[in-house]
């Protein structure tokens, strides 16, 4: 297992390098001068030039690249061009919020989506199936900034169960949970809708397989056949989707963070983009990339758990 993990991590290194280079190029080809963004419209050209020099933006591009790669390799992302705060400190302060939201949304997605998908497949083309498909379609069609506002109107303003401002105190588990419920439900239900559809489709694929019939013929109870033989074999596409979606979830959390006033990586990245805060953007992209690599690794390991043939290969 350790060799397997090590091999996967090594394989991720070229990906990380490629992404770092891409990030470095991307943030610089986006038009918009950080010095103007920072100094505002009353700044003189001399002030803009002075700030560009201070930020190192007047240096040759290759020198900036070498510095960036060297710092990234050491895990040093420097300080924000705008606030002068260390990037890692800013990211560390908000990453627990992003992780909370991602995991909670993923759990809601799996807990709701997998049984709903199995249920729909078992009742193919009956009203339960139609209902599940319809509900999942609605879930996928609603943007989070609409469903989020609806949830706030209902649960924060009307019933006053949850607050509108969701910046939780991390050292208070009750507060953390209270402020997680609505955003996690918003994102989780979209994920559940997605998983329902994939699970339904995967289950329909395996329900007619010979081994299912054989298990039935051997007298294995139907429930066990479905959950143990059926779902396990249908699990591969579901795990793939969950893995892919977790990556999307981290990226998509920005709208949820803004609507629910939660701190998080997505919110920082939007601020950095508006301000053309190159160093912050670079640091965030590297962290995002690292998270995606980790999620992919976990997905690969899960494949091995579901289907031992993957590990042997």
């Amino acid at each position: 297992m350790i060799v397997y993990i090590a091999r996967r991590l090594l394989a991720a290194l070229p990906t990380l390098w490629a992404v770092l280079t891409l990030v470095f190029v991307l943030v610089r080809i986006v038009p918009g001068d950080p010095a103007i963004a920072i100094l505002g419209d009353r700044a003189t050209p001399a002030a803009v030039a002075a700030l560009q020099a201070k930020l190192g933006l007047d240096r040759p591009i290759w020198a900036q690249y070498v510095d960036f790669m060297a710092q990234s390799a050491q895990g040093d992302f420097g300080t924000s061009m705008v606030t002068n705060r260390p990037i890692l400190a800013d990211v560390s302060a908000v990453i627990p919020h992003t992780i909370d939201l991602t995991i909670a949304a993923m759990l809601i997605g799996i807990i709701v989506g997998v049984p709903a998908g199995v249920w729909a497949a078992l009742h193919r083309n009956r009203w339960i199936d139609v209902l599940a498909r319809l509900v999942s379609l609605v879930g996928l069609s609603f943007p989070v900034f609409v469903s989020g506002i609806f949830l706030l109107l209902a649960f924060a303003l009307h019933w006053r169960i949850f607050p509108v401002i969701g910046n939780a105190n991390l050292s208070d588990p009750g507060d953390r949970l209270l402020k997680l419920v609505l955003p996690a439900a918003t994102l989780g239900l979209v994920m559940a809708a997605y998983i329902t559809r994939v699970t339904r489709s995967a289950m329909l694929g395996v329900l007619g397989e010979d081994y299912m019939r054989t298990a039935r013929a051997k007298g294995v109870p139907w429930r066990r056949v479905v959950w143990r033989h059926g779902l396990r074999n249908a699990g591969m596409p579901v795990v793939t989707v969950v893995g892919l979606y977790v990556g999307i979830l981290i990226g998509n959390s920005v709208l949820t963070e803004i609507v629910f006033n939660r701190p998080g990586l997505g919110k920082i990245i939007v601020g950095a983009l508006n301000q053309r805060d190159y160093t912050m953007l670079q640091g965030l992209m590297v962290i995002y990339c690292f998270l995606i690599v980790v999620v992919n690794l976990i997905t690969d390991l899960t494949y091995g758990f579901i289907d031992p043939r993957v590990k042997q290969a």
Partner: protein
């Protein structure tokens, strides 16, 4: 089961408890004490720079005004140059030619965080820093300063190379006028912008990135101990959810939207007081005379006649906006109704035909995707279309827009701004040829206007204020005659606060673009 005695005892205990709770509820001392912590919702992801000389966004400007003082200040609630009053300076005098100014400082003013007493050395350091392009975004305002000297610990002398229209305006509680602690800036270095040290009624306490900035009362404030103990400045970028948080009682004060729908909606909320105040940000179309066909005066006049200002006002809302009368905002010292061209589509078409564009023309225009500015520009686009002028809008992200318009890439630049309310500032930055974009001294002259250079320059050094104002008024008329720019609308600042919050002054205007929170601000 309880015995009779036990039952009596329990009953008595219950009565005693109920009585105690009831008495405690009614006792005067137990009446809910007024809140002392203010929670403010700001449309922001985070603060940027809290070094007052680098604070340029509304988010930063609003809060630095609570942390710092200037030598002089606008009376709270006003932004009229006539209302400038002493702040860190107790008194001042000027030489007859207004080139030498001497300021006497207050004694005993303390910087936050134990950085000691504010003295002339801090003032010299602050104003020198504010004039240094490497350390200030307002350095242009200090170009006429020759020397700033400390005569003794409580006396500062400013000597100018030439007179300026409003020296007090430069050193007020705005932009480069804020006084910082020399010791704090030198000790903290770049960290000063994240953890500023001033003399204001509130002091920096903590900043949780992307969440909030926390301030505490400066108990040693020279005007007295602030009535509020804490301010939590929350970063809530979503307009909809910020409004919901206010509605839910989670905010006491909120940055609003400059549109009528928002004002009407908030006014209907129980306990909400909507503040609409100066400065009016004047939205203007700057017509780029360096590009064809806008080098033709008739085409520029045609555009001016195609603009229907009352219609734009109706779109934006009468409570938060007003129709401009000149190329500088109403209320600026030196403002005059400059006789803007009236809406007349037939005349616009005739002028176009005369200029050789009988079948109309198309202009390529770079514009921002910021929703309010984009919506206003779409109204303009529809109005110009009626006269046969097609705007080919290239909508880009806001930072990109700022870069592109400074590279002279747009035929028309829609720009909305508020400045220090003296005509010279707006005229110099937007209409003097020295400020033309893509020149070494560029500021924001997007139209390549040079119609009133001599009047603007003459007014700067004119010692007689009546003649100075006359020069500024002539300049405005000349700029309008040359149609360098077409004013559209002036939009005022809009905030909302709970009716239990008392500012402690009458809010008519605020150059920091947000309500000033002073030592007098409190809850009822």
């Amino acid at each position: 089961m309880l015995g009779a005695n036990e039952g009596d005892t329990m009953m008595k205990l219950r009565h005693a408890l109920l009585s105690a709770v009831f008495a405690a509820t009614l006792a005067p001392g137990a009446m809910a004490a007024p809140k002392t912590d203010l929670i403010v919702g700001m449309a922001a992801q985070d603060v940027g720079k809290l070094d007052p000389h680098l604070a340029v966004s509304t988010i930063d400007r609003t809060v630095v005004a609570w942390l710092f003082n200037g030598l002089v200040r606008f009376k709270p609630g006003s932004m009229s140059p006539a209302d400038i009053e002493p702040d860190l300076a107790e008194s001042w005098d000027a030489s007859p030619d207004k080139k030498v100014w001497t300021f006497k400082l207050r004694h005993g003013v303390q910087f936050h965080g134990g950085y000691g007493e504010m003295t002339a050395e801090d003032v010299v350091y602050s104003l020198t820093k504010a004039g240094d392009a490497k350390r200030s975004a307002s350095s242009g305002d200090f170009a006429s300063f020759e020397t700033i000297a400390a005569l003794d610990p409580y006396t500062v002398r400013i000597t100018l190379k030439q007179t300026v229209p409003s020296l007090l305006g430069i050193i007020t509680n705005y932009g480069g006028g804020f006084i910082v602690s020399k010791k704090a800036v030198e000790t903290l270095g770049d960290k000063f912008a994240a953890a500023p040290v001033g003399t204001g009624p509130f002091a920096f306490a903590a900043n949780t990135p992307n969440q909030s900035l926390e301030l505490v009362a400066n108990k040693a404030y020279f005007r007295g101990v602030p009535k509020l103990e804490k301010i939590s400045y929350r970063f809530l970028p979503s307009n909809a959810s910020r409004d919901l948080a206010f509605q839910n009682g989670e905010l006491d004060l909120e940055f609003g939207n400059q549109d009528q729908t928002w004002v009407d909606r908030m006014k209907k909320q129980r306990g909400a007081v909507v503040d609409v105040f100066e400065p009016g940000e004047e939205a203007i179309l700057h017509l780029n005379q360096a590009q064809k066909p806008l080098d033709d005066l008739r085409v520029r006049q045609a555009i001016a006649h195609a603009i229907n200002r009352p219609e734009i006002l109706k779109f934006q809302g009468a409570d938060v906006s007003r129709t401009p009368g000149s190329v500088i905002p109403i209320g600026n010292l030196g403002y005059i109704d400059a006789g803007l061209p009236q809406y007349d589509v037939a005349k616009a078409k005739a002028l176009l035909a005369e200029a050789g564009y009988k079948d109309g023309l198309t202009l390529k225009v770079v514009h921002t995707q910021l929703p309010n500015m984009l919506a206003q520009m779409q109204v303009v686009q529809a109005q110009l279309k009626r006269a046969g002028i097609t705007l080919d809008l290239q909508v880009v992200e806001h930072a990109t827009f700022h870069q592109m318009i400074r590279q002279d890439l747009s035929a028309i630049v829609f720009y909305s701004a508020a400045r220090f309310p003296v005509a010279d500032v707006y005229l110099s930055q937007f209409y003097h040829s020295r400020s033309t974009v893509k020149t070494p001294t560029a500021v924001a002259n997007f139209s390549h206007c040079s119609a009133a250079d001599s009047e603007i320059d003459a007014a700067r050094t004119e010692p007689d204020s009546a003649r100075q104002i006359a020069l500024w008024q002539t300049a405005q008329k000349k700029i309008v005659a040359q149609m360098c720019a077409v004013p559209l609308i002036e939009t005022l600042q809009a905030w909302v606060h709970t009716d239990s919050l008392v500012y402690g002054y009458d809010l008519k205007g605020s150059l920091s673009l947000g309500p000033l929170i002073t030592e007098q601000t409190h809850f009822k």
